[in-house]
């Protein structure tokens, strides 16, 4: 009898973990992803074949013109190559200088380790725009470095550091380092520490134990960090806008100008699809070999 009331009350003809209930639960998220992620990208794909008439006006006559223009004009190739280069340089530098703090936090005997981790998360809470423009106070003509250099009499005129590609890469590193450090840290945390003790007890020095055990086992985190940094750097818009000159614009700025400035929507769609496919294939190659789980760990901190 009791069993029957339980059945009746809880299930009412539905199994305990009924797939239909699951679909109800995921319906809002699925609908949102469909309307705001999948459909836009599909429509954008169709738009790349539309004919551009004049600013803000296009025609639904299908054409290869946009693709032809992208594939033949070296102006676009230059942007793409520069964007990929900046993305790779940024990711590589983040990997090299991000490894040290990740390793330090993992290996340190410091009691307030949580504070070091918290300080890595705090930048995520500070507006990205503010973090980016704050570099103007360091690199600009009235920035900290130039004011010091001139006070010390090392230069008479301010050194041009802002509005260069270096400044853009620096801003990107500033934005992406926490991602890199957290990714490496998460994978270091996953290492069974007895493996290192074992290596040490069998005669490895600290350095050898690091090279033979710790470093190889932390590579998945490093790879996830590199992928994430590359994709986010290559897709950036605000950083080149604030810290670079017109010459340092990246692909994201090109897309913005094509759409919001020239109002050439079909070309803007074409450029967006190009960036999406290029970055998507990098991510796909990565997941093919490494899987998604490491990124999931890194993103959820």
């Amino acid at each position: 009898m009791a069993a029957r009331t339980y059945e009746a009350r809880v299930t009412r003809g539905w199994k305990l973990y009924d797939p239909r209930l699951a679909w109800l639960l995921v319906a809002p998220a699925a609908l949102l992803l469909l309307c705001f992620l999948i459909l836009p990208i599909l429509v954008m794909g169709i738009y790349t074949f539309f004919t551009f008439v004049t600013a803000g006006v296009e025609d639904a006559t299908l054409t290869w013109a946009n693709w032809h223009e992208f594939l033949t004009d070296s102006y676009y190739h230059g942007f793409l190559l520069k964007t990929l280069r900046v993305g790779m340089v940024t990711a590589a530098i983040c990997g090299v200088i991000g490894y040290f703090p990740a390793y330090f936090i993992w290996a340190t005997g410091f009691r307030h380790k949580w504070l070091l981790l918290l300080l890595l998360i705090v930048p995520f809470w500070i507006s990205f725009t503010i973090r980016t423009f704050s570099w103007i106070h360091i690199l600009g003509e009235q920035g900290l470095i130039n004011v010091w250099l001139m006070n010390l009499g090392l230069t008479n005129a301010p050194v041009q550091m802002l509005y260069t590609e270096g400044a853009v890469i620096m801003g990107l590193i500033h934005f992406l380092l926490p991602y890199m450090i957290l990714n490496i840290y998460v994978s270091l945390e996953g290492i069974d520490r007895t493996l290192i003790s074992a290596a040490r007890s069998m005669g490895c020095t600290n350095a050898q134990a690091f090279r033979e055990v710790t470093l190889p086992l932390s590579l998945p985190g490093l790879a996830a960090g590199l992928m994430l940094c590359f994709v986010l750097a290559a897709g950036s818009y605000v950083t080149p806008q604030l810290l670079g000159s017109g010459r340092d614009a990246l692909f994201g700025n090109l897309i913005y100008d094509t759409i919001m400035g020239q109002l050439n929507w079909p070309m803007g769609a074409t450029l967006s699809i190009v960036l999406f496919v290029v970055l998507g294939s990098v991510a796909a190659i990565y997941t093919r070999y490494m899987g998604m789980s490491q990124i999931v760990k890194g993103l959820s901190g």
Binding site: F133, S134, V147, N206, A283
Partner: protein, 278 residues
Amino acid sequence: MSGARDREGRWAWALTRLVTVLVYVFMFAPILATVVLSFNKSMFGGFPMTGFSFQWYGKLLENAAVVQAFKTSLWIAVVTAAVTTLVGIVTALALVRFDFRGKGLLGTLVILPALVPETILGVGLLILIKSIDQPRSLPILVLGHILLALPYVVLIAQARMVGVKRIYEEAAMSLGASRLSTFREITLPLLIPAVVAGALLAFTISFDNTSASLFWRPAGVETMPTQILSMLKTSISPEVNALGTVMIVMTVGIPLIGGILIQIFTRRTRRYKTRETA
């Protein structure tokens, strides 16, 4: 021999410590410079400091555009946080507890908004609403922000949900609780840390969002970050520094207070539990 190797290890550790310190300085020096300069008396936004003053904060309150943008961003972020948390929690519940067709696909899709560059998401949605002849509007901007925050909320809730044993829920239901009251009485209280963390993160993601908002905002509407961007177009003024400082205090302060509240909350329930068993 072994001494030389030990020295190598010591050098490596010293180098690690040095780079770590430098990285933390690198991360926070520019932000500190902004905060310090917001109190500068000079009417230029840069160094050197010429005196201490609160005047730029006063100027900020008189700036109607800034106050308006602040209000806009605030309510967008509050709505985004509320809706994303709700949707994210039920999605995570389904992804962790249930088996259904398309689960793997959905699990991957839901992370994508965090990986696809905002410029692409921005252009895509804009083209979609243009192709169906809809104007840009605030609801679309809010839904866009919900899309951008969803991956993080789902991931946080999933990570927490995995740690909550389904036996508790099944026990409640076998004792006669309905699904809804089981969720309210058992699942939700156990998920509170994830709910708070997710809501705070969704709030900051929305409040901070720049690139996508530039595409999605209706004509004439400025959010806080787009307002800052347009103020930066001319030059960096002390007012922008003051505005930046206010935002830093807000966006760092809210999660910190939230975190402390969670700590106090969990400590109290733990104490309550131990008293109960004793």
